[in-house]
Symmetry: C2
Subunit: 124 residues, 2 copies
Amino acid sequence: MPIAPMLSVRRGAQAVKFYKAAFAAAEAFKIEAPDGAVVARLEAAGSEFWVSDESPAHANFSPETLGGSTARMVLVVPDPDAAFARAVAAGASPISPVTDQPYGWRVGRVADPFGHHWEIGKPL
Amino acid sequence: MPIAPMLSVRRGAQAVKFYKAAFAAAEAFKIEAPDGAVVARLEAAGSEFWVSDESPAHANFSPETLGGSTARMVLVVPDPDAAFARAVAAGASPISPVTDQPYGWRVGRVADPFGHHWEIGKPL
């Protein structure tokens, strides 16, 4: 995929486990440094994204470090209600329930345990 | 595309112009609120991403507000050197020049004028 986001997190190894459970993601690639820091490429719903332990010295900050996130992920799935429920069951926090929006999407929003936000929806 | 990042920025209308120039992005969708705030979906290199004006009240923070970014974009292109040069010519700041990396990629990194970081490269 020509553009793939790389999410900076704390506890990268745990984050990879979470994303697998929450979004049915498959691990396409993973390297683990001797100190436990992880860089992984995951695939979910046919798209790729990366997860890596933060490295503030290299300007890679986790949401926990900055107190918020500067990009959210828009995840388009056939059944947003089921995907939202699965993410919450895996440990994500509901931010907005799945509802029909006036702009023609059915969408909800969760925050994952690492501080990244996901909009889970589909065009109506 | 099932997963697309939505980048929060200040000066969203300017950001859309920048991404068009820097990454040859096409505007697939744009709405502009009466106050000038923008939500746009762009397509570059066959992938989609979103750009929207930040809204800290809704937990959408720009890198300028937080002092860093929590996700970087990995842009895979056939000619990273040319794409890097184009982004810099459009106003991006070089962070790391395009070089061959030991993990088998030719890649460089820029920061855009809105604080988001892009890794521009390809597997060797």
